[in-house]
C-alpha cells in the first residue's frame, strides 16, 4: 500500500504567548506514562522485523566528530544506501531500504552530497554554531545559507537555550523565524537541547514556539548534552506536536537524538509515535532517529530474525 509522501509544509505562524504559557507538563505523570510505553505494546517475529526495517528508514545516520574526514563520510553514505547486508535485505524483501538521511557538519556536506548522488537520501547539516549555538547571529544565519548552498536539504539548527532559560519567548521565536527563513526550501529541524532546558514545561513551551516560528521538525538534542533523548522528554514534545496539529492543521516531525542505541528502544519510540500521533508519524517524512550506533543493533536483530541464530557485529558492514 502506498502512503502519500507529501506533507503540507509548516509555515510561520503568529507568536501566541497565551497558548504557550497555558501549556503544562506534569513530570511525575509524564514519567509514569513513559514507563508503560514499553510495557503496553510488544511486536514480535515478522512484525518486529518490519518495524525494525521501518526504524532504519527513519535513521539520520550521523557522524559529528572533530576527526570527520571526507573518506569517513563516504563510508557512512555508502552504509546509508545499503544499511543491511545484501542477503539479509533480500530475505526480508527490503532490498531498496535506505536510511532516512545522512547527518554531518557543514564542512562535510559536499562530500556527503557527492557520495549520495542519484540516491533519494537527503543530506542534513547541523548548523548555527552547533552544538552550543553561541556564535554571532549573523554567522549562524550565514552558516545555514552556506550549507544550503552546498547541497544540504535539511538543516538541524540549535536554539539559544538562554532564551528559554530567561523565558524570553519573543527572542526565541524571532531567532527561529530567522533560521527558517535562511533555510529557504531546505527543511529545518529545531534542536531544543532539552537536557539543558531545566524542566519539561520549558521543553513543552520551547517546542510550541519553534513550531509557531516554522520548524519542520523538532529535535531533542545535539547528542553532546549530558542528557539527550529520553522517553519523558519525547512524550512532551510529541504531545506538543499533536496539540500544534490540532490547533493549526500543520504536521511537524519529531527527531529524538542521542542515547538511542538498541533495537528495542527504537521499537518503543515507534510505538510511542503510533500511539500518541498515528502511523503517519512513524515514517521518515515526520520521524527520524538521530543515531550512530542504533543501526548496528538493528542489523544484528534482523539477522537473528532471518536465521534464528544470534548475530555478531563483525558480520555487518561498519558505517
Amino acid at each position: 500500500m502506498n502512503m502519500s509522501n507529501t506533507i503540507n509544509r509548516n509555515i510561520c505562524h503568529e507568536l501566541d504567548l497565551d497558548w504557550v504559557m497555558s501549556t503544562q507538563a506534569n513530570q511525575s505523570a509524564i514519567e509514569r506514562r513513559a514507563a508503560t510505553l514499553g510495557t503496553r505494546r510488544s511486536v514480535k517475529k515478522e512484525f518486529q522485523a518490519a518495524w525494525l526495517a521501518r526504524a532504519i528508514s527513519c535513521i539520520d545516520l550521523t557522524t559529528l566528530s572533530g576527526d570527520d574526514t571526507e573518506g569517513r563520510v563516504r563510508r557512512l553514505c555508502a552504509k546509508a544506501r545499503h544499511p543491511l547486508r545484501a542477503d539479509l535485505a533480500k530475505s526480508l524483501g527490503m532490498d531498496t531500504l535506505t536510511t532516512g538521511a545522512v547527518c554531518v557538519y557543514h564542512e562535510m556536506v559536499s562530500a556527503a552530497v557527492a557520495a549520495l548522488s542519484e540516491s533519494q537520501i537527503p543530506v542534513a547539516a547541523v548548523s548555527t554554531g552547533f552544538p552550543a549555538g553561541l556564535s554571532s547571529l549573523k554567522l549562524r544565519i550565514a552558516e545555514i545559507e552556506e550549507s544550503v548552498a552546498a547541497g544540504a536539504t535539511e538543516i538541524d539548527i540549535v536554539i539559544s537555550r538562554r532564551h528559554v532559560l530567561n523565558q524570553d519567548w519573543q527572542a526565541l521565536y524571532t531567532e527561529m523565524k530567522l533560521f527558517r527563513e535562511a533555510c529557504g526550501d531546505a527543511h529545518v529541524k529545531a534542536i531544543l537541547a532539552t537536557g539543558e532546558l531545566g524542566t519539561l514545561r520549558n521543553v513543552a513551551r520551547a517546542s510550541l514556539i519553534c513550531m509557531m516560528a516554522g520548524a519542520d521538525f523538532i529535535k531533542t538534542s545535539t547528542g553532546k548534552e549530558s542528557v539527550n533523548a529520553t522517553l519523558p522528554v519525547s512524550l512532551v514534545m510529541v504531545r506538543a506536536i499533536r496539540e500544534f496539529y490540532e490547533q493549526t492543521g500543520y504536521k511537524v516531525g519529531y527527531k529524538p537524538a542521542g542515547g538511542i542505541s538498541k533495537a528495542k528502544d527504537a521499537l518503543v519510540y515507534l510505538s510511542m509515535m503510533k500511539e500518541e500521533l498515528g502511523v503517519e508519524w512513524t515514517r521518515p517524512e515526520l520521524f527520524r532517529f538521530g543515531a550512530s550506533s542504533l543501526l548496528g543493533d538493528i542489523e544484528r536483530q534482523l539477522e537473528h530474525f532471518a536465521t534464528g541464530a544470534y548475530s555478531a557485529s563483525f558480520r555487518h558492514a561498519m558505517g
Binding site: M1, Q24, N26, V43, L200, T282
Partner: protein
C-alpha cells in the same frame, strides 16, 4: 502479511503470552479442585465450572463448599490459632517472607493463571497485581517482626473469615491474608466463585512456605459459602471486599454477634480536572482510572468532573486517546483491555447503559473477539447529577462526565454521592490541588495521579464505601484488638462534699441542641428518683424529631472539624476548668446516684483528667508520612469521622458521658450524646458547664432519651457518620443491625478499661493523600 506490507501498515500483530506452565498446573490437578483445609487439599463436592472470560470456555471445575467443609475449615483455623497466635513475631515473619519469596518465584505462573481466570490483560497481572501481592507479603513480614515491640497493647483477634471479590483475586487475597497472619490470626478465605484458581495455587505455595496446618484455609463456592462463614459462631472477624449490597447484608448478619467487621465496598469516585491541569497527562490518568482492569475497580475514577472552560478540549483529547486503546485477548501483551470477568457482569453493564440516550455515548469502534465477555471503553458526556448513571456504580469500562465552574462546586459534586472511597485531583496549582484533599469525602485522594496502591499506605472508604483500612499501620487495627489491661483504680484526694439540694429552687432539665436548651419535641418528661428516693427529677423524653434537630445542628457545626487543634485544646482545658469550679456539686450528685463504687469526688477528678488528656491530644494526634515507592509523599491524615452519636454508659454518669464528648470533639467531630438513663441529672447539670466553656453551638448536643427507643432511629439516620455504645449494651446489636442502612461506623466494644487513645482511634478516619512531585 509479508514484511513489506507490515512495514507500510505498522500493525502490531499479536504477542501472546504462553499458557504452557499454567495449563500444566491445571492438568496436574486434573482440572478439578477441592478445598484447602488444615494444610491439605480435600476433594470437594458440587463441582462447577470456572470459565475463562476471554473465551467463554471452561478452565477447570471447582467445588461448592458444604457447611461441613466450612465447619472443618473453621475448626482447623481455631485449632491452629492456639499455637500460631503464640508464635513469635520472628517465626511469623519467616513464614510471611517465604510466602513473599515463593510468590515472586512463581510470579509469571500466578500472572498467567490470574489472566486466564479473571480476563484482565497480562500486562496488568504481570506488572501491577502480582508485584503488589508480593510487596504486601514482604511488608507484613516486617509487621509480624515488629508487632511485639511496636504494638505491645494489641493482640490477634482469632479466626478471620475473609471473603474476596473477582476483580483482583490474588491482590485481595494478599490484602486479607498478609495482615491477618502477621498479627497472629488464622484465616478461612473464600475467593469469588468465578476466580478461585489463584487462591488454590496460593494454597500450594502455603504448603511449600512453612505455613503451619490450619493457619490458612481456603474454601470455594458462591455466596452461600460466604454466608456460612459470616454466620459461623467460631469466626471472630469478618473481612469482606465486594459490593455494597452484600456488605449491608453482612453488617446485618453479624450485628450483635460480637464479630469484628471490616468492609471494602463500592464506589463512584470522582476524577476532577481543573483548567490548569496538564490535560494530556490527565487524559492518560483517565485511562488508568476507568479503563484499568476494564473499569472493574472499586476505586475506579468513574465520574469525570471537568472544569467548564477546558471541557471540550479535554473530552476531545479523551476521545482521541480512547481510539488508541486495544481491546482483545488479555494474554496478548499489546492489549490494553481484556474481558469483563463474567457474563452476568457484562449483562449488568449493558443493561445499565440501555436506558442512556445513545447520542451521549462515545465508544471505540473496534473489533472485539466473537467469544468471551468484552465491552468497549465507553464515555458518556453531559450526564446530570440526577442520572442513575452518575449515581450508581457501573463496575465496567464506562466513564460518565459532567462539568463544574469553581473549586467549591467541584467539591460539592464530588461529595454528592453515597460512596466515599477515592478521588483524583488534577491541577498544577499546589494551593488548589492540596486544598482539595481535605474537602473530599474519601478514604484516598490522589493528586495528579490515580490508582496508586502500596502496602504501606492505607486504603479504604467512608460512607457506603465501607469501613476499615487495608495497608499501613492502620490496616493492622482490623486484625488486632486491644489487650484489656485492668486500670489501676484512680486515687485522688477526697474532697468534702458540701451541697444542700433540699434548699434549691425547682430545677428544669432540657435537651441541649445547637447551643440552646430545648424542650423535647413530644413535650413529655419522665420523673426519675435517686436511689435513696430523697429527690425526684423531671427528665425530658426525646423522640426522633429531637434527634433530627440535633443531627442538623451537629452538621451545621462543620467548622469545628476544620478548626485548629490548638483551639480545640484550649476549649477543652476551659471545659475542665469550669467543671472543676463545680467539682463539689458534681461529686455530691454522683454520690447520690451512685452510692457504691468510686466516690463522686474521685469520679470528678478522673473526669477532669480525661478532659486534660483529650486536650493534650487535640493538637498532637498527628498523621504521618508513609514510605511508598514513589517520588513524593503519601500522607496518612487523621480526619474527624464527622457527626458521632454516642450512648453514654449507665454507670459513671459523668466520666462515661465526658469520655464520649471529650474524645470525639478533641479530634474535630461533632457529637450527639445520650446520657446515662440511670443518672441523667449529672448530664443535665453538665450542660451549663458546656455552654460556658466556649464550645461552639452544635458541637456537643445532649439528648435525654430512652436508649432502646432512640437507638434504631439513630443507627438508621443517614446523616450520622458513626454510632458508639458500650460493650454489652442492650442496644448494641440493634445499633449494628440498623447501621447497615448507610454502613455508618459502629463502635460497640468500649468498656471501662478502654484507653483514651483507643477512643481517639475510633474518632478519626484515615485518609491517604498521594502527592507525587518533582519538576526539573
Amino acid at each position: 502479511m509479508d514484511i513489506k506490507e507490515i512495514y507500510e501498515t505498522m500493525d502490531y500483530g499479536t504477542a501472546p503470552e504462553s499458557t504452557d506452565e499454567a495449563n500444566a498446573w491445571l492438568a496436574k490437578n486434573n482440572r478439578i479442585f477441592g478445598h484447602f483445609i488444615d494444610g491439605e487439599f480435600v476433594s470437594g463436592t458440587g463441582h462447577f465450572e470456572t470459565i475463562n472470560p476471554a473465551t467463554g470456555k471452561s478452565l477447570a471445575h471447582v467445588s461448592q463448599a458444604s457447611s461441613a467443609d466450612v465447619d472443618s475449615a473453621v475448626a482447623a483455623a481455631s485449632h491452629a490459632f492456639y499455637d500460631w497466635s503464640k508464635s513469635s513475631g520472628f517465626e511469623r515473619a519467616k513464614v510471611l517472607y517465604a510466602l513473599a519469596r515463593n510468590i515472586q518465584k512463581h510470579a509469571r505462573l500466578f500472572s498467567v493463571a490470574e489472566t486466564l481466570d479473571n480476563g484482565k490483560p497480562i500486562r496488568e497481572s504481570r506488572d501491577v497485581d502480582i508485584p503488589l501481592v508480593h510487596r504486601h507479603f514482604y511488608y507484613h513480614a516486617g509487621m509480624a517482626q515488629l508487632m511485639s515491640k511496636e504494638l505491645p497493647h494489641r493482640e490477634p483477634i482469632g479466626v478471620c473469615g475473609q471473603i474476596i471479590p473477582w476483580n483482583f483475586p490474588m491482590l485481595m487475597l494478599a490484602w486479607k491474608i498478609a495482615p491477618a497472619l502477621a498479627m497472629g490470626n488464622t484465616v478461612v478465605l473464600k475467593p469469588a466463585e468465578t476466580t478461585s484458581l489463584t487462591a488454590l495455587l496460593f494454597a500450594e505455595i502455603c504448603a511449600q512456605s512453612g505455613v503451619p496446618r490450619g493457619v490458612v484455609n481456603i474454601v470455594t463456592g458462591d455466596g452461600d459459602v460466604g454466608d456460612m462463614i459470616v454466620r459461623h459462631k467460631d469466626v471472630h472477624k469478618i473481612a469482606f471486599t465486594g459490593s455494597t449490597d452484600v456488605g449491608c447484608k453482612i453488617r446485618r448478619a453479624t450485628a450483635g454477634s460480637g464479630k469484628s467487621l471490616t468492609l471494602e465496598l463500592g464506589g463512584k469516585s470522582p476524577f476532577i480536572v481543573f483548567d490548569d491541569a496538564d490535560l494530556d497527562s490527565a487524559a492518560e490518568g483517565v485511562v488508568d482510572a476507568i479503563w484499568f482492569n476494564q473499569g472493574q475497580v472499586c476505586c475506579a475514577g468513574s465520574r469525570l468532573l471537568v472544569q467548564a472552560g477546558v471541557a471540550d478540549k479535554f473530552h476531545s483529547k479523551l476521545v482521541n486517546r480512547m481510539k488508541k486503546l486495544r481491546i482483545g485477548d488479555p494474554l496478548d501483551k499489546s492489549v490494553d483491555m481484556g474481558a469483563i470477568n463474567n457474563q452476568a457482569q457484562l449483562d449488568r453493564i449493558k443493561s445499565m447503559l440501555s436506558s442512556c440516550d445513545p447520542s451521549k455515548i462515545t465508544t471505540v469502534a473496534t473489533t472485539m473477539p466473537d467469544d468471551g465477555y468484552y465491552h468497549p471503553p465507553t464515555l458518556i458526556q453531559d450526564v446530570e447529577t440526577s442520572d442513575t448513571l452518575m449515581q450508581e456504580e457501573i463496575f465496567g469500562p464506562v466513564l460518565v462526565s459532567t462539568t463544574f465552574r469553581t473549586p467549591s462546586e467541584a467539591v460539592a459534586l464530588a461529595n454528592n454521592t453515597r460512596y466515599g472511597l477515592a478521588a483524583s485531583v488534577w491541577s498544577e496549582n499546589i494551593n488548589l490541588a492540596l486544598g482539595m484533599a481535605p474537602k473530599l469525602k474519601a478514604g484516598v485522594v490522589w493528586v495528579n495521579g490515580t490508582n496508586f496502591f502500596d502496602a504501606a499506605a492505607g486504603f479504604g472508604g467512608t460512607k457506603e464505601s465501607g469501613f476499615g483500612r487495608e495497608g499501613g499501620w492502620e490496616g493492622l487495627m482490623a486484625y488486632t484488638r486491644p489487650v484489656n489491661v485492668p486500670k489501676e483504680p484512680a486515687k485522688y484526694s477526697a474532697t468534702e462534699t458540701i451541697i444542700n439540694r433540699a434548699a434549691s429552687i425547682n430545677r428544669t432539665y432540657k435537651n441541649y441542641v445547637a447551643g440552646k436548651h430545648s424542650r423535647p419535641d413530644g413535650g413529655y418528661t419522665k420523673q426519675i428518683a435517686d436511689p435513696s428516693n430523697a429527690a425526684t427529677y423531671d427528665i425530658p423524653i426525646s423522640n426522633r424529631k429531637d434527634l433530627r434537630n440535633a443531627v442538623e445542628a451537629a452538621n451545621k457545626a462543620i467548622g469545628w472539624s476544620s478548626s485548629t487543634g490548638h483551639l480545640r485544646s484550649q476549649i477543652l482545658y476551659y471545659f475542665a476548668e469550669n467543671l472543676s469550679a463545680r467539682a463539689n456539686e458534681f461529686a455530691a450528685l454522683i454520690d447520690t446516684f451512685q452510692p457504691r463504687g468510686i466516690s463522686g469526688a474521685d469520679e470528678v477528678e478522673a473526669t477532669l483528667e480525661t478532659i486534660f488528656e483529650c486536650a493534650a491530644w487535640s493538637d498532637k494526634f498527628d498523621g504521618d508520612v508513609r514510605n511508598v515507592p514513589m517520588r513524593g509523599l503519601a500522607l496518612s491524615l487523621n480526619e474527624p469521622v464527622g457527626t458521632i452519636a454516642a450512648f453514654a454508659p449507665a454507670e459513671h454518669a459523668l466520666l462515661g458521658l465526658v469520655h464520649m464528648i471529650a474524645t470525639t470533639i478533641a479530634v474535630g467531630n461533632r457529637v450527639i450524646v445520650f446520657p446515662s438513663e440511670i443518672n441523667p441529672v449529672t448530664a443535665g447539670e453538665l450542660i451549663q458547664v458546656i455552654e460556658t466553656s466556649d464550645i461552639p453551638a452544635g458541637v456537643v448536643n445532649i439528648l435525654f432519651a430512652d436508649h432502646s427507643d432512640i437507638a434504631k432511629h439513630t443507627a438508621m439516620h443517614m446523616d450520622i457518620d458513626a454510632v458508639w455504645c458500650e460493650e454489652n449494651a442492650a442496644i448494641s446489636s440493634m445499633v449494628e443491625e440498623h447501621s447497615a442502612t448507610n454502613l455508618k461506623h459502629t463502635w460497640t466494644q468500649m468498656n471501662a478499661e478502654t484507653e483514651i487513645r483507643e477512643f481517639l482511634d475510633h474518632a478519626i478516619e484515615k485518609k491517604t493523600v498521594w502527592i507525587p512531585w518533582g519538576e526539573g
